[in-house]
């Protein structure tokens, strides 16, 4: 039989027992909806986690140090590879990193100890410089107050625990001023023409330096739960955040400066470490490899991202298995419906065979009926699944708002899931139709014609 005729006859047969076939199709739809809802939840959570972690700066970041800074920090290799010539982490290196493919930005890590004075009381803490690019990456979505008004704004954002040290009513801190006391480096002239590396700023000289206490008045503009982009190259989380540009101009002495001061270098100013941000976590590995090949030490949380992917793959698999249970039940419904149809249409099958239908035609007819139920069930199920997802997101966001947390998209229905679910539903339905279709095709026409 031609495909068009097969389709017409199948649809006609399905219309004949419209209630039963609709209920069977609904069963498939519920199964697919369950599968889509589960997988969409998995995908949504994965995307949410990836987005949040990516925004945190932990997974798209490579910390670069001069290789010598890492010596003594690693276990000796079993088969030591001849080391590449050591290179200084200077402005030239920073420019080279910036030119690497898929590098978003390169900036120095700025962290230094300070004493903060607020309302006449001293508080020791760590200041961290935050690049202006952090403004749009979502890390500050839940901020009380606002992000820095500009890259050179003399403003501060407080980490919530530090803000609580300053005042129990943290919201009242916004708009207030505080004073940061820090140690400023002042460059000394090089001795005998040999320069020593300074901590972090290329504007400094390459000679030694003296320490001078300084103060800086800053206005509090925001409070955050945790320090976004906490990084892992410094010596603790920053509890007081200031614009990176401002941190650079302070020329504050950092811990690494003491080490750099006693080392012989090329004479050019060098950075203690640089943060290289990739466009996405997927590109971190290639960038890290490229930087290593230049002769620098690197550190990233690449293994953590791999583990995260592995976790979500297993998580999605488990969700898919649970989601498929409902579809398995629906499959039994299809088998039951088609077996019932064979009993009811036994005589009709006999007539078709007497009129010239081959076993193959009868088989295909039942297959198409199963496939059509699967197709409609699949499309309907994807719609239901999407609706369930919207409802879940809606409910979750109501809960998050009540907890004073920002909204989150915990649900995602990508196009591959839509197509995959429909194809899967049709495939499962065809598999369910295999037994009834084969049974119908094997009916003896003489016996079928006798059936009343």
């Amino acid at each position: 039989m031609k495909a068009g005729d097969l389709g017409e006859l199948a649809l006609r047969n399905l219309r004949e027992a419209v209630l039963r076939n609709s209920l069977t199709t609904l069963g498939v739809a519920v199964g697919v909806a369950s599968l889509v809802a589960m997988l969409s939840l998995g995908v949504g959570l994965q995307e949410l986690a990836t987005r949040r972690l990516s925004n945190s700066g932990l997974f798209d970041t490579v910390i670069v140090t001069a290789r010598r800074n890492m010596q003594g920090m690693r276990r000796p290799a079993a088969n030591p590879v001849p080391a590449k010539p050591e290179r200084a982490l200077d402005e030239d290196a920073r420019s080279e990193f910036a030119r690497l493919p898929n590098v978003l930005e390169v900036y120095p890590q700025m962290r230094f100890p300070t004493e903060v004075r607020y309302n006449g009381n001293p508080y020791s803490t760590i200041v961290a410089g935050v690049p202006d690019s952090a403004r749009g990456n979502g890390s500050y979505d839940g901020i009380q107050g606002s992000f820095f008004s500009g890259p050179n704004a003399e403003e501060a954002i407080l980490q919530i625990e530090f803000a609580k040290d300053l005042s129990e009513q943290t919201a009242t801190l916004i708009g207030k001023e505080l004073v940061v006391r820090y140690a400023e480096r002042q460059a000394l002239a090089p001795e005998n023409g040999v320069g020593n590396g300074s901590g972090a700023n290329a504007s400094d000289g390459a000679g030694g330096f003296s320490i001078v206490p300084r103060e800086k008045k800053l206005r509090i503009v925001g409070i955050v739960e945790t320090e976004p982009a906490a990084g892992f190259g410094g010596f603790g989380s920053g509890r007081l955040l200031i614009p990176l540009e401002v941190a650079s101009t302070l020329r504050a002495a950092q811990v690494n400066d003491l080490r750099e001061a006693v080392r012989a270098t090329t004479g050019k100013p060098a950075y203690a470490s640089l943060t290289v941000r990739a466009k996405s976590p997927a590109q971190v590995e290639a960038i890290e490899t490229a930087i290593k090949s230049m002769g620098f030490g690197t550190f990233s949380l690449l293994d953590a991202t791999r583990n995260l992917r592995l976790f979500f793959t297993i998580f999605d698999l488990l969700l898919a298995i649970f989601g498929s249970l409902a579809l398995a039940v629906a499959t039994l419904g299809i088998i039951n419906t088609l077996v019932m149809a064979i009993l009811e249409r036994r005589r009709e099958i006999g007539i078709l065979k007497a009129l010239g239908a081959a076993d193959r035609d009868v088989k295909q007819l039942f297959f198409v009926e199963a496939g059509v139920m699967g197709l409609f069930g699949g499309v309907l199920g994807v719609g239901f699944g999407w609706f369930i997802g919207r409802a879940l997101t809606w409910g979750t966001n109501i809960y998050l708002h009540r907890q004073n947390l920002p909204s989150a998209h915990v649900f995602s229905v990508p196009w591959w899931l839509v197509l995959g679910a429909i194809v899967f539903a049709v495939g499962v339905s065809l598999a369910a139709g295999l037994y009834p279709a084969t049974r119908a095709a094997r009916l003896n026409p003489v016996e079928a014609l006798r059936y009343e």
């Binding site: 026409p445 003489v446 014609l449």
Partner: protein, 234 residues
Amino acid sequence: MTTGDGVAVRAEQVSRHYEMGAAVIRAVDEVTLEIRAGEFVALLGSSGSGKSTLLNLMAGLDRPTGGAIFANGRNLSGLSSLELARYRSRTVGMVFQSFNLLPRMTLEENVELPLRLAEVDRGERGARVQEALERVRLEKRLTHRPSELSGGEQQRAALARALVNRPTILFADEPTGNLDSATGESIMLLLKEIQQKLGMTIVMVTHERPLAERFADRIAALADGKLLTDGVKS
């Protein structure tokens, strides 16, 4: 279409036995029968004589357990399931006692069904259906469903369905069994007309001797699965 020697169908020592536990039922037992092209043959016998079983074997609906049936020069026993389906679709037309129209389809759709199975082009089907229905004088009932027709009309519709693929042999299993005598006679007249106008071979099963004697060219009488007599009617 014939076997080449003017024979439409030939059964040679054909048997159809059924096993019912330890017992063997010999529905058809070593029957040899030759039906010539264009002939109207009546298979006559009482209930259980094996006439319908023999008809089903010759129509390719069933396979013999012994012997051979030749049609179109080929032994039907040796055909695959698909080839046998093609034989039923292209060479054979069938009419049943209980009409066997599909109740949810209109007359037009019922008659079109064999054309769909034979994969006849859609553009050609309308004319073929019209031609078949005109032949049985039901061309004005295209959109009616079987339940809206009388018994005689339903059998005429079944006849149109059997003719639509232009078969060479028409097998009719008790075509008047469910009809009153007047309607039955009109169906028999129609069958005779078709035989004469189209030169079609007709094999009809009946248990009514008068009907067979009046319309058939030849009567083959069966009893207990065996052929008792085979000859031109007296």
